[in-house]
């Protein structure tokens, strides 16, 4: 839609499909929100309401769920969210310096977004990538270990590539871990979608 706060027909259809996948219709809320954020970049209230409406729950319930998760953004974020890990390994490995460099180069601290809307800097408690400390998560991609040169390279790459995703060199060793795109199951005809009294835990995912 023109205001950029509403979901496309494709996303709506996908969420609609998800509601039939789980034994309890409500279970589609979380993946639904994830799809919405994937499309819009963050979760405006309008989008949350829309997901709630499709899934058939009260908008408040949807909002409550979204507020629990750190990775659902309820305010606009930059095109690239650079999340610096502040776990123990990264802290010792110099995550403070990484934040300092980011402040120097982008002029923003954790929780802030650059004026051009390109970058948001935030922190994480632990990204479970201690082998690459100090590491960071750029959107869904791990980067690290970071030093000043690699950070500059990363920023240059992010600025120059219109649709950056896992660029070699900065990712470091190996093929690189990245959070996979959500893979959602297809409906299982054995599940009744109307009976909410007897959910079958675990059966939803095949």
């Amino acid at each position: 839609m023109s205001d950029g706060l509403r979901l496309s027909a494709k996303t709506r259809a996908e969420i609609e499909r998800l509601t039939t996948v789980y034994p309890v219709r409500r279970s589609a809320l979380l993946p639904g929100l994830r799809l919405a954020q994937r499309e819009i970049g963050w979760l405006p209230r309008e989008a949350m309401d829309e997901v709630a409406e499709i899934v058939g729950v009260d908008p408040n319930a949807c909002y409550a769920l979204a507020t629990f998760y750190d990775l659902f953004y309820r305010e606009p974020v930059g095109k690239y969210v650079i999340g610096v890990c502040e776990g123990l390994a990264c802290h010792l490995g110099g995550s403070g310096r990484v934040l300092g460099w980011l402040k120097e180069r982008l002029g923003i601290g954790p929780g802030e977004t650059t004026a051009d809307g390109l970058f948001t800097v935030r922190t994480f408690e632990c990204l479970a990538a201690c082998d690459r400390a100090p590491c960071a998560l750029v959107n869904d991609e791990y980067v690290g270990p970071l030093d000043e040169a690699r950070l500059d390279e990363l920023l240059r790459e992010l600025r120059s590539h219109p649709n950056w995703s896992r660029v070699s060199g900065v990712g470091g060793r190996g093929s690189g871990a990245s959070i996979p795109d959500p893979q959602y199951p297809t409906p299982d005809p054995r599940h009744s979608t109307t009976d909410t009294r007897h959910p079958a835990p675990g059966e939803g995912r095949s």
Binding site: R45, P59, N60
Partner: protein
């Protein structure tokens, strides 16, 4: 053996039902276990950890609310480990709960205060600054949230979800910064939101209306009833400085289950209104002037006498409000029929609906009986708007396993809780209802035993619905035939089944026929006369049922005039015929009425733009207006008489399940205002009768002596919880269900073709 478990709690041995949780079991044993999050009507969650107990052979301490009793369990609520754990819980709660009790509206009646006093340590070791939020943020116009005070028991959220059935309140930012909230920009817009104020164990959710109005020790409390709708929820009226400061629930499990709707809880402001009528007024030329009661009553009596003698009693009308008490209504009809000599008497301004032919004209079952139903057909009724607390009861029934069938074109609140939602096109309700009758007959799902023994006229019914085949019904209502089939099967085979419909449904043509078909459905399936099986025509106004019982309408059986020696004295002098309220308004417009006595009714408030009506009222020789607040009709009145509000008088109201309940005076009426029955009484005396009732209970005693359904009732019997009529005088038992024992009379299927079925 039996279903009881023997538990020892603090040395006391009690037998309690298996499956009961320990908090309830301790209550039965007379042992108090302190709680915050636990509430007997909500599912236990074990969130607050206050209800720790020690159980023999169980390591550590456990929460009582989430532990169910087992046979032979030995529980100690005073174990040193329990005491220490509870002190710890309270110390943690108070680490963040502000100590602003002196300015908190919950102070003085606060579970956190009480539990801290009873179970807390002497001092807190926590001296650091507490968390601070902006002081109360409005969740809605009515309800304020103070997040500092919240102890996260989730009672409010659970109430909304489990009882009210919505999620208008929610928990956000779960984790260290957890809060109770609504979506940003959205109000806490539940019609039952006020209950969360009473549920909140601290002063986190408070009433905007009650804010800083009083402290618990400033208040005088009195039992009373909510007069906003026909459910008749029991309330506690808290007054200070001759004003109502708040209404609280006074739990009556049979009526309200401890809940109030926001309309009832916050709708008392009319009673505090600064414009309340406090002084009788009489017309002097073009304006009204204050007068004493003697003068006003004399003028009113003279005006009535003059019209009766010059134009005859047929030109006098009496309109009463169905919110007035039984005592007022009874005396009003006696005044009209026996003193003035007119039957132009009604409690409603709109035409009377067609009603079920079963007599008496009342709900056959009880509100609490609905919980026993397995199937409930809700036919063109929207309790959320007209009887909100009944809506909660229906949701409770649904959560207890009843299958709801909602028949309504609109998506009512209950549709979301229904097993089946049938959406007949507008105006086709009758076809749908007859279609269900047809299906039950055609599928052989008739309760033959009941039909043979208790009813008559099934053959005529069979003939009448022969054409209403599912195909035709589906075509004309738009409801798919399989849905109809399912509904009919549920009704016929998943009993006991109750049928709930709006009594005013009968005012429309299709609704009238649907109401009659609903009776047929109940009789066909034998669903009448026992718990869970009943026919519930829902009246709307607080004492509409009382008005029906006492015959406050023309062309209906009216209570006989008592003879001077007591007992019934027959209907001597009661004129036949008479005009209904709607007909009276027409007569007014045509200038045919000469005198009108309005008791709590103002036709101009209902129909403000009706010029002809205004002219008719202007043309009256005598217009007596008795009310508690100024209204447009008073500008045209010859005499204005100030009445008393529900909390300023004695009296009884009859609710939609035939429960007669009492009103108590919490305050005196303002100024010279008087209870309505007294005014009617004095007016009748001014007209030369020998009415002699010293108090409201005298009037009620007469009602009980002349109205058969009220026989045996007294104020004492009605008491705090009310009594459902008819009372079995011999056994003193109230009747939960009508038609339990038919005797020789048989219940008739719709006796006439629907088009001619209008009763009034």
């Amino acid at each position: 053996m039996d279903n009881l478990a023997t538990v020892t709690i603090d040395g006391r041995v009690v037998k309690v039902p298996r499956g009961m949780n320990l908090v309830e079991a301790a209550r039965l044993a007379g042992v108090e276990i302190p709680v915050f999050c636990y509430h007997s009507k909500l599912k236990p969650v074990g969130a607050c950890r206050m209800c720790y107990v020690a159980i023999e052979k169980v390591p550590g301490v456990v929460t009582a609310c989430t532990t169910t009793v087992t046979d032979g369990m030995v529980v100690n609520t005073k174990d040193p480990r329990v005491v220490k754990a509870q002190q710890g819980v309270l110390e943690f709660l108070l680490a963040n709960h502000p100590l602003d009790c002196p300015v908190c509206d919950r102070g003085g009646e606060c579970p956190l205060q009480n539990n801290t006093f009873g179970y807390g340590g002497p001092v807190s070791r926590y001296v650091e600054p507490k968390r601070h939020f902006a002081k109360p943020i409005p969740l809605s116009r009515r309800i304020l949230l103070d997040r500092e005070r919240c102890i996260l028991c989730y009672r409010c959220v659970r109430f909304q979800k489990e009882i009210a059935g919505d999620e208008t309140l929610t928990v956000i930012n779960r984790g260290a910064r957890v809060e109770i909230a609504t979506l940003p920009g959205r109000e806490f817009d539940s019609p039952f939101s006020g209950n969360t104020i009473e549920l909140c164990p601290v002063g986190a959710l408070t009433s905007a209306l009650y804010r800083f109005k009083a402290r618990p020790w400033d208040i005088r409390s009195s039992p009373s009833l909510c007069d906003q709708c026909s459910v008749g929820c029991n309330v506690r009226v808290d007054t200070r400085n001759r004003q109502i400061v708040r209404l609280l629930s006074r739990e009556n499990a049979a009526v309200d289950d401890g809940w109030l709707c926001d309309r009832g809880r916050f709708g008392y402001e009319f009673a505090n209104h600064p414009d309340r009528l406090t002084q009788p007024q009489v017309r002097e030329g073009t304006r009204l002037r204050a007068a004493e009661w003697e003068e006003a009553l004399y003028q009113a009596a003279q005006g009535l006498r003059q019209v009766v003698s010059q134009r005859g009693p047929g030109t006098v009308g009496v309109l009463v409000s169905p919110r007035l008490a039984n005592e007022d209504l009874y005396l009003a009809q006696r005044l009209a029929r026996a003193v003035i000599g007119t039957s132009n008497l009604d409690y409603r301004l709109t035409p009377h609906p067609t009603v079920s032919p079963l007599r008496p004209d009342a709900a056959s079952g009880s509100i609490v009986g609905l919980e026993k139903a397995r199937t409930i057909l809700i036919l063109g009724a929207d309790p959320l708007n007209h009887q909100p607390v009944l809506d909660l009861r229906l949701k409770k029934a649904a959560s207890l396993g009843a299958r709801l069938i909602v028949v309504d074109e609109k998506q009512t609140d209950l549709a979301a809780f229904a097993r089946l939602w049938l959406r007949p096109r507008s105006g086709s309700l009758d076809t749908l209802a007859r279609g269900l009758v047809h299906l039950i007959l055609a599928n052989g799902q008739v309760n033959q035993e009941f039909v043979d023994r208790r009813t008559e006229g099934i053959d005529a019914l069979r003939a009448r619905v022969a054409d209403d085949t599912p195909e035709r019904v589906a075509a004309s209502t738009g409801v798919p035939a399989p849905l109809l089939e399912q509904a009919a099967t549920l009704l016929a085979t998943n009993g006991p089944a109750s049928i709930v419909y709006d009594r005013d449904l009968g005012a429309s043509d299709d609704g009238a026929a649907a109401v009659l078909a609903a009776t047929d459905l109940a009789l066909l399936t034998g669903n009448i006369g026992r718990d869970g099986a009943g026919l519930y025509p829902l009246v709307r106004a607080a004492n509409e049922q009382g008005a029906l019982d006492l015959g406050l309408m023309p062309r209906r059986p009216s209570p006989p005039t008592p003879s001077p020696t007591g007992g019934e004295g027959g209907h001597a002098g009661c004129p036949a015929g008479g005009m209904t309220g709607a007909e009276m308004l027409d007569a007014l417009r045509a200038g045919q009425l000469k005198a009108l006595y309005l008791l709590g009714v103002d036709p101009l408030r209902e129909l403000p733009d009706d010029r002809a009506l205004r002219d008719g009222l202007t043309g009256l020789t005598t217009l007596i207006v008795q009310d508690i607040l100024p209204g447009p009709a008073q500008e045209l009145a010859t005499v204005v008489l100030p009445g008393a509000a529900f909390h300023e008088r004695e009296g009884t109201l009859t609710n939609l399940e035939r429960r007669v309940q009492r009103l108590w005076p919490a305050l005196k009426p303002p100024g010279k205002a008087r209870p309505d029955w007294q005014i009617i009484h004095d007016l009748a005396r001014a007209l030369g009768t020998s009415f002699d009732y010293a108090q409201a209970s005298d009037v009620f005693a007469e009602i009980a002596s002349v109205v058969p359904t009220y026989r045996g009732l007294t104020y004492g019997k009605v008491g705090l919880k009310g009594v459902q009529w008819p009372l079995d005088v011999a056994s003193g038992q109230e009747a939960g269900s009508l038609y339990e024992d038919p005797g020789d009379t048989r219940l008739a299927f719709t006796p006439v073709a629907p088009s001619t079925a209008r009763i009034v």
